[in-house]
Amino acid sequence: MERIDVSSQSMTDWSMVLDSGQVDSPTRQRSLESLVRRYWPSLYAKARSGGIDANEANDVVQGFITDILLERNLAAVADPERGRFRGLLSTAFSNYLRDRHRAQSSKKRRPSQGAPRSIERDAIQASDHGENDPEHAFNRHWVATVIQAAVTRVRVQFRETERRAEWRILEARLIDPMVSGTKATPYADLVEELDLRDVAQAASYLVNGKRALGRAILQEIGDTVKDPSQIEEEARELIELLERKSI
């Protein structure tokens, strides 16, 4: 299970994507930075899953951002009517990786005879057959990014409203196990730590926290769709993408 790095992160929405595409917008730079921060983990995961090593993957993502997002202004062709931005970005990155692979293969063929073997090419071919699927990696990291942002949103909200006990229980019973795979802290321990009345009270607090997190996840997804009526559809589509097995 991948770790979800729970850190403060600015999220985006369609208005930010569209703002990024407008070269004369005074806020374009900030929007672009937010876009990059948001999608970097998914792009990086896709590159790594395609067989590119860690150092090179950083360079590849950086190159994609410079060449496609900035110079070719990918965001300018984004259109909420034509689908999700994550889909557009993922497809553009696939094309970028393919072009890059072709260019590298061509260079390698020149000095020697025959087609040299390439770990990256093998990985790309493997991914075409559904093994170690880069698209799957992209989607998983995208969902992790959405959930991470929702967690941050709830943490801030609970701090501001001094719901310390509810946050602690949510973190110990739900977020930590989800993020790092650790076992949930027993209710009895939390009752003692937080000086609560009983387990029933602790469980009620968890439910309040879980509801808040569920709402925050829906809000985060809501930022990525054109209309609030599409939130549930997008959440179901993400579940389907996560559960889609390699063909």
């Binding site: 299970m1 998983r140 969902v143 992790a144 959930i147 196990p177 989800m178 209710y187 009345r197 009983d198 387990v199 029933a200 009270q201 469980a203 009620s204 607090y205 968890l206 439910v207 309040n208 879980k210 509801r211 808040a212 997190l213 569920g214 709402r215 996840i217 829906l218 997804i221 939130i231 549930e232 959440a235 179901r236 993400l238 579940i239 996560l242 559960e243």
Partner: protein
């Protein structure tokens, strides 16, 4: 093994679809692991009678807290109905009175639960039996019935 990412999305959808019922069922699932709904947790009378009563007390206390601490009025209202349902279940299924509240007050709470169509039908039926039990007991105590 369940996937925490798709699980999170699933329960986020549940929050969007039926917020109050979801909270009630989640709480029951936390307090009575393995129960598929709050009604299931309340009505499941497996185990020794004292274990069942203890489960109902636990659920009652959970719904009581949720009745006060939940953010949304709809969740607070439904928690109050399920709080009454646990008392009704203890009375009907085990002949136990698990609250310090007076019967007249509990009767009102159970009647409100019966009238709420957000509550599972099985619990509303149980509520009617509880009302009969309270009324019979009251009649005996006041000497109106043999």
């Amino acid at each position: 093994m369940t996937d925490p990412l798709s699980d999170s999305l699933r329960w986020a959808i549940e929050v969007g679809v039926d917020p109050s019922r979801t909270s009630i069922d989640w709480l029951a699932g936390e307090l009575v692991p393995g129960s598929c709904s709050a009604a299931d947790a309340i009505l499941n009378a497996t185990g020794r009678p004292d274990e069942h009563i203890e489960r109902l007390r636990l659920l009652k206390n959970g719904f009581k807290t949720l009745r006060i601490s939940a953010e949304e009025p709809a969740v607070r209202r439904l928690a109050a109905q399920y709080y009454a349902a646990t008392i009704a279940a203890a009375l009907v299924r085990r002949g136990a009175w698990i609250t310090t509240q007076r019967p007249t007050r509990v009767r009102e709470a159970i009647l409100a639960m019966i009238d709420d169509d957000h509550v599972a039908d099985s619990l509303r039926c149980l509520g009617r039996e509880a009302i009969d039990a309270i009324d019979q007991n009251e009649a005996v105590e006041t000497g109106l019935e043999p």
